[in-house]
């Protein structure tokens, strides 16, 4: 448990600001394409 926690903390320390900005941009683009795009799969019929 302590080992796993220590490893998590070490990993978190390696995250740099540009990693966070990149993740934010990826998240933004994903939200944008899901929201703006309108592909229909037919899965909502019968609801």
């Amino acid at each position: 448990m302590k080992n796993a926690l220590a490893q998590t903390v070490l990993l978190a320390c390696k995250v740099q600001p540009h990693h966070i900005r990149l993740m934010l941009m990826l998240l933004a683009i994903t939200m944008f394409v899901i929201g703006v795009g309108a592909p229909e799969s037919g899965g909502s019929i019968g609801e």
């Binding site: 900005r21 934010l24 944008f32 929201g35 703006v36 795009g37 229909e40 037919g42 019929i45």
Partner: protein, 191 residues
């Protein structure tokens, strides 16, 4: 699914491009990100979450148009970024078709019959919203800007079946270009 594939492939292509050039992937600051999140929440309420079954069709169409308007403002405020002009054009194409056809993306009965050939009888009706999604079933002759409607289908051999529009294609290209362009400054090891 096709749009998410464009995001994934754009990210992979951008990463490969950055690696080959000895750079790292980097992202610019995005303006009005909160507006995008708010728009996404509106759409989740109207079309993704269980609340979608509670909202009347009229309210859902208002949520759709308002949220897409918010996304347009977000995209315009970031238009200086590579790929965003394609995202703006794709969004405008979809929003135009939606706004002129009762607040939902039009889809023809013929396309639906190919998309869900085993749909139970009575599960959809011409002139009505298609399930709890973003589409409305309209005949081609009664669709304004039919060319921009959900009229394309993926090949039958593909396991995933979806109807998409010309705007979705343009958005996919824009998403790919935006991520392809995410190359930052040279890494210190190359100096």
């Amino acid at each position: 699914m096709i749009l998410l594939l464009a995001v994934a492939s754009g990210l992979l292509a951008g990463w490969l491009r950055a690696t080959i050039r000895g750079r790292r992937l980097a992202a610019p600051n995005l303006f009005l990100l909160w507006l995008l999140v708010a728009a996404f929440v509106l759409q989740a309420i109207a079309f993704q979450l269980p609340t979608r079954k509670l909202l009347p069709d009229q309210i859902a169409s208002i949520f759709l148009c308002v949220s897409q308007g918010m996304m347009l403002i977000f995209a315009m405020s970031n238009r200086r970024l590579p790929g965003f002009w394609m995202l703006i054009v794709g969004l405008a194409m979809n929003l135009g078709a939606i706004a002129l056809n009762g607040g939902f993306m039009p889809i023809s009965p013929e396309t639906i019959q190919k998309l869900v050939p085993n749909a139970p009888p009575g599960s959809w009706e011409i002139g009505q919203r298609f399930g709890t999604g973003k589409d409305i079933v309209l005949p081609v002759g009664k669709t304004i800007l039919w060319i921009l409607s959900d009229r394309f289908l993926l090949p039958e051999w593909m396991p995933y079946h979806v109807a998409f529009s010309l705007g979705d294609v343009v958005i996919s290209i824009g998403a790919f270009l935006t991520l392809w362009s995410a190359a930052g400054p040279e890494t210190p090891k190359d100096k």
